[in-house]
Amino acid sequence: MSFLQIVELTKYFGGIAALQKLNLEVKRGEILGLIGPNGAGKTTFFNVVSGVFHPSRGKVLFQDKEISGLRTSQIAHRGIVRTFQATSLYTDFPVRQNIEVASRLNRKAGFWSDLLNTRFARLDGERVAETVMTILEYFKISHLKDELARNLPHGYQRILGLAIALAAKPQLLLLDEPMTGMNAEETEMMMSLIKGLRERGITILLVEHNMKAVMGICERIVVLNFGKKIAEGPPQKIQESKEVVEAYLGAERYAH
């Protein structure tokens, strides 16, 4: 059974093709990096896979079942969770509540049990609360549990974003530029956290501009440009690829 399979994926906005006949496979248990110059289609790709957009053509298959066109929450129920480039937090909630509310997929109590506060709901709540503390401890932020998310320093906010995603019990994590704005030390920490998640059996698809990080943790890398895949392979091969260098240089030229 394939894990995540992208088949001839195409997405048009107006007349512009943000993604063109993309074919891609993500294997279970790997950390796959997705890179490319700005505007290459990486965020659009995430948006389509996570259900924010419908594909114009082509399909997305997760564990051999088609998920293209499903709503984001339905896709999350299937096991794909996505983080966002910008705030991926509940700014007005304390840290602990951020994880608690993101534990929807971990809860067994239904609407009525929850509302009537039945014994079943209470026990379920206690179990979830324990899991929440475990997650906080794993990310070493349990000392911040009562801090409002918006008051956290930037690095911790990004870690919280990752913790929130983990609370949703993902099988596949789509990380959208998790290391933006991080210094070298924070990046190192994030890299080991991501590797740690893979050890726990979570497959990771990573979009990131920080090349050192990408090359450091991804076993395989896919390079997009203008919505098409232009290279694929282990970091070594990508670094040496002429097409990739040209793509980035080309983008550089346009930027000036």
Binding site: S88, E100, V101, L105, F111
Partner: protein, 322 residues
Amino acid sequence: MDRKTGIQKAILLAAVLLFILLPLTIVEDPYFLHVLITMGFSLIMAVSLRQILMIGQLSFGHIFFMAVGAYTCALMLKAGFSFWVCLPAAGLLSGILGLVVGLPTLRLRGAYFAILTMCYGAATVPLIGSLGFLGRWTGLGDIPHPTIPFLAGSRQIADKTQYYFLILGLVFVTLAIFYRLDKSNFGAECRAIAQNASLSESVGIRVTRVQVTAFSIACFFAGIGGAFFAPYMRILAPEAFSIWHGADFLVFTVIGGVGHVLGPLVGTMVIGMLNEFLRGYPEIQTIIYALALISAVFFIPGGLISLRFLIPQWIKGGAPSE
């Protein structure tokens, strides 16, 4: 923590006792009771409106669902049904209508949704006025009083004191239900959606389902408020459901504060008492509402109820700790 909840419970008990004993002892003036009763059903409207604000949306049309409840109850009472059947039926009809309206519209972004609610809110009065079976502009009259079935014949709820206890009971139940909603995971998810809907979807919260459920519940209680309103007023005229009356509820909720179930209570009582001083001066009333709303938005965005966090500092008599 235990001491805090102990004090809270004591205050709650004292307040409940106060409200129960009030009409029996101190107050016998029917007008004053009328004011309290009006605050009562306004409170039900305000606290249900709060639930819509909790999911991050704003409704100017909540009065429409109150009208649905009111006219449903009125027609059913006149047809001979017991009030105790009409009450939940009215709520249910409003709730179902809320479901029908909410399902396609809640996914609209904030301002567009608000526009829509303002449109059906403003359409309420002309709509009633054009429907024959609702009495058009002359109104629907002779609505019978509710009766309490007793073993030895039935007693009517006819005078102000009896209506007062009825609304007190309804208010109590309504507040209890919304309080429970707040503390539940459902309530937390509502607040989560209001803050960050796309993140919520991402972690598996069924945003549309939660929003529609919250909206339907809010409309259900608007229907309940309307259902009480009908026999109490004895006559229903379309003007009672104008968008300006609807605006009242919004003012109560925003001024009182959305952060806690009792926020709308504070708002209803404060503005309600203010209204008594301003009786006969609708222009001043409007201006005061306006100034209160604008001040709240600028200075106390959490409403009056959010000031409760400052109370411990006031008691200690010292400067705020931050």
